[in-house]
Amino acid sequence: MKIQTLSKKLDALYEFDREAVKPHAFQSIGNFLGSYAGEHVAGTEFVIGMLFVAHGVTVFDMLIGGLIGNIMAVLSWALITAPIAVKARLSLYWQLKKICGPVLVFLYNIVNALMFCFLAGAMVAVSATAVGIPFQVEMPTLNDMYPTGAGWVITVFAVGAVITVFAILGFESLARFSKVAAPWMFLIFVAAAFASLPKLGVEHGFSNFWEVAQRSIWTGQAAEGQSQFTLWHVIFFTWFANAAMHLGMSDLSILRYARKWTYGFASTVGMFLGHYIAWIASGILYAAGTSDAPGEVAYQALGIAGALCVIIAGWTTANPTLYRAGLALQVASPGWSRWKVTLLAGLMTTIAALFPALVMKLLDFVALYGLVLIPMGGVIFADFYLMKKLKLQDYYAEKQKLNFNWAAGLTWFLLLGLALLMNRVCGIELYFLPLPVWIISIPLFIVLSKIYQKKIAL
């Protein structure tokens, strides 16, 4: 495909937000509070809280680590992402295109789309753990990597097919359904925790809660086959669970509608309802259950409403994700209509969902998702704040009409290589890599820009 064609297709996809947001389109703080609360109480929460328990965190790790990690995440949104968003008022796509050029943005889009497919796949699998209950499907356990049987395969395909059809038919009704489901879903998380406490032996007045929590929920002992987590794991995982959105700058596209940078603090609602209370609740739910499948444990605690919540939570998370993946992949397709591309994305998602490893290793996948995209956030940060100060040209690809800014591209590739090396050779776990990678991306992009801009100028 010719570069001009590629560039035109990408531009058409993001046509509606080509311009910087004008003051009349600014939105009130209420919209941001609602949007963050809805987005972060999702299907993933059922799994993450459960996996913290399986990885043997202690009560202190969970409560204090979660608190610190969430505060750091909120500060990242409020102090790093939001100030750039309200000054530039551009979406991530246009900001990146100006810096990196269309070909590099195309690559970024494809990587993003693949990540979306896998995330949606995990949510299809989560829904399937509830859909399969009446059919007595053999549910996957923590250490299962491959499909558990024909029943699991059929259930996943059925759920995947429904989700794909809805993603093809349209996004608006579904987005509305997610909005309606959000308050109920949060209460179901809290309800699940309350309903599970008697089974764990917690007395009515919570008098022995701490003792039970230490003995039966967050015991400090990892389940068989699971790595041992510490306070640092909880802090770093919680901080970087949405690395792509804050330090990775995806949320520039949302926060550019904010009146003030302080609206970045609206993320507090999403973090503390979804990534704190809901994670704690799903940990309690899992500890009281007799299964590793989210649908089954929710059904044990709350009956049909619990199973419905798992289906809806998985579905409402998977659908927009699949829709976005379809949009991103559309750019790469040879003139296919959106429904065909979404069908292809749905098929990829469903095949990925067949493997329970995607759910049972969700923590690793979420960390990887953030890690892969975070260097570009560092590039945007450096371009926005430092290039002019260092007498370098910002928005270099746009000003020089470049298709591929090698300084940005090399920053991305080299840092992913470095991260792989740190993980494979030095044994540093994925959860700890996004922070150093983001920090290094800033000086690296500047040094490479200095060399590259000099070379182009010659």
Binding site: F177, W184, A191, P198, G303, I304, A305
Partner: protein
């Protein structure tokens, strides 16, 4: 009409959170908790859909 729908939604949400608290307190049994939760779920979706997140008519 809207007010009635909102009241029904509120009742739906209350039926989602109160029964598990009562179950924890030992005031109701598990099957009753599940029944009330299910009714609360139906009430919430059956009423909130018609007012929450709906675009205002021009």
């Amino acid at each position: 009409m809207n007010t009635l729908l909102k009241i029904l939604s509120l009742v739906g949400l209350l039926l989602t959170i109160v029964p598990p608290v009562l179950f924890f307190a030992g005031a109701i049994d598990h099957s009753n908790q599940n029944l009330y939760l299910f009714i609360g779920t139906v009430l919430w979706f059956g009423s909130a859909w018609f007012w929450l997140g709906r675009k205002a008519k021009a």
